[in-house]
């Protein structure tokens, strides 16, 4: 394995990077904490890709995306997505996926059964591709704790597994495809381990984090006890309505004509409205007025897998954290500022600006994943560094009997601070309170000694979560405006003086963040 690329993260972006790198002749080590594809947000997606079509030009696609991103997008990167989207859809088709062109300039992955989450069909197809890629070695159940560096360049990763072993894996190119951090929030629709580990790894390795104050909240997430907290998939059929405890139709109350349009184009407005309503009392999605025939079709058919009588009982919902627009900066080759380190997927900043257009996350994963894989393979090919692994035992028990210890309480406290102070509605006082609270939690967490390897992983998860909450609070505080997904109750209007991207530099020795602002590049 002389020319090896390490890919950290096995969602859509990571799998595309792995596939592209092996197509370029590289050997690939695809690292995931769980099993390939399963514990990622890609599998929970609606399978929708936005992008130019023959009747929807690249220019219009870019303009529309900039408008939704309220002009904070990094246009050069967005233009790369626009140019690469069509080939990306063709690539998915060539890998055996059914990708159909839909009205309104979207492409969709069609699940084979109406009760299947579209993201499952997408990920399932790509897992088959991964299994048949002989040059891709799957390193599952491995938790990366550190990016290894030598003379300013990344030269591998270090991490632990559940069997109590620590591995240092050296290779000349590393792709970060670790996703976002939605699960740091009390209410979210992400997989529960997605707590910003990639941002923390990248910042400790010397990368700046851009626009971390911009987090997208999806308006309608299931919040019923004993049901998974996933988003309620659109399109919402005729007869479905959002109601409060008194049965009032909330869309009607707030002047929303079309719920599906609002979810696609006005997620920020809808999330703020539902958040404010949910501060008064519970909010529900009511399917009782939906014709029975709709339950045989997607998306309602997939609710049939859950033990809840959606047909006769309104289901409790809430807006929830969904997607991080901020992240690490890359160039057109997906290179970061640290040699040897590449990025793709949600961890990357720039495409979405202040708000993400529906369907652009998956398009970004495929386009940038492919570029990152190719670039990393080129880096590996031109390097003299060899692939090696060092192994040692960790001095911690591997029994699970100790459970999560005090870490569950820490997690709940962090999520509460994130939701209440760095959530949908923010204010100066709340942000300052949040910084105090998260600092206190972080300092208590630092004193904890994990009692087994699983607690060690949780400890690192929560350190990452504290770090990310701090980045959101720090970047939010001076932005005295509201823009896209970012809403300040004390500054509810958009202000053109804030057409600036924020940049956080992390000093790992002092554990200190320094914030600067930069005019948007066009």
């Amino acid at each position: 394995m002389g020319k090896t690329v390490i890919v950290v993260g096995a969602g859509l972006a990571g799998m595309m990077a792995a596939f592209a790198a092996q197509q370029e002749g590289a050997e690939v080590v695809l690292i995931t904490r769980g099993t390939v594809g399963i514990g990622t947000n890609s599998i929970l997606s609606n399978g929708v890709f936005s992008g130019p079509t023959p009747s929807y030009s690249e220019e219009t696609y870019v303009d529309d995306t900039l408008n939704i991103g309220r002009l904070l997008n990094h246009k050069p990167l967005l233009e790369i997505i626009a140019k690469g989207a069509s080939s990306a859809f063709d690539l998915l088709r060539s890998l055996g996926l059914t990708v159909e062109e839909a009205p309104n300039f979207y492409h969709v992955v069609k699940p084979p059964h109406p009760d299947m989450i579209p993201g499952v069909a997408l990920v399932k197809g790509l897992i088959e591709v991964m299994k048949n890629s002989s040059r891709v070695q799957h390193f599952t159940g491995f938790y990366v704790t550190e990016l290894l560096t030598k003379e300013g360049a990344v030269c591998g990763v270090r991490g632990i597994n559940g069997r109590g072993r620590e591995f240092s894996i050296y290779a000349p190119a590393v792709v970060l495809a670790t996703g976002g951090a939605g699960a740091i929030y009390r209410t979210n629709d992400n997989q529960k381990n997605i707590m910003g580990q990639g941002y923390y790894l990248a910042a400790k390795a010397g990368l700046d984090l851009w626009d971390m104050e911009f987090v997208q909240f999806i308006p309608i997430v299931i919040m019923e006890p004993h049901l998974p907290s996933i988003m309620l998939f659109s399109p919402y059929p005729d007869g479905a309505k959002l109601i409060n405890e008194a049965g009032e139709d909330l869309a009607q109350k707030h002047g929303i004509d079309n719920l599906n349009d609002a979810v696609r184009k006005r997620r920020d407005f809808l999330s703020i409205m539902l958040y404010k309503e949910s501060c008064v009392g519970p909010v529900f999605m009511d399917y009782r007025g939906v014709p029975l025939s709709a339950w045989d079709n997607h998306p309602l058919a997939l609710l049939g897998k859950m033990k809840f009588d959606f047909k006769t009982k309104p289901v409790r919902v809430s807006p929830g954290a969904h997607f991080f627009m901020g992240g690490i900066r890359i160039n057109g080759l997906c290179e970061t500022a640290v040699p040897g380190l590449f990025g793709c997927g949600e961890i990357v900043w720039g495409v979405h600006g202040a708000n993400r257009r529906a369907g652009n996350a998956l398009t970004e994963c495929v386009v940038l994943g492919t570029i990152a894989g190719k670039s990393a393979a080129t880096q590996a090919r031109n390097s003299v560094d060899k692939f090696t692994i060092e192994e040692k035992f960790v001095d911690l028990p591997t029994e699970r009997s100790l459970g999560s210890g005090p870490y569950r309480e820490f997690r709940d406290e962090i999520r509460k601070v994130a939701w209440e102070k760095a959530g949908i509605v923010r204010s100066k006082e709340g942000l300052q309170d949040g910084l105090d609270s998260i600092g206190e939690i972080e300092s208590q967490l630092c004193k904890m000694q994990p009692q087994n390897v699983f607690q060690q992983m949780l400890h690192t998860d929560l350190m990452s979560a504290c770090f990310v909450v701090r980045t959101i609070l720090t970047a939010s505080l001076p932005r005295s405006e509201s823009r896209g997904s970012f809403y300040r109750s004390d500054f509810p209007q958009e202000d053109d003086n804030w057409l600036k991207n924020s940049c956080l530099k992390y000093d790992a020795v002092q554990n200190n963040l320094t914030l600067s602002h930069h005019p948007v590049e066009r």
Partner: protein, 32 residues
């Protein structure tokens, strides 16, 4: 129902295949 159970309902077969083929230890033995 947990999210894991929901996903497992779609994935049982693939999970089995994955574990059989790609155990971390098996991979490491192969390359060291």
């Amino acid at each position: 129902m947990t999210l894991a159970l929901l996903l497992m309902s779609y994935f049982q077969q693939t999970l089995d295949c994955g574990n059989e083929r790609v155990g971390g230890r098996k991979f490491l033995v192969g390359v060291i």
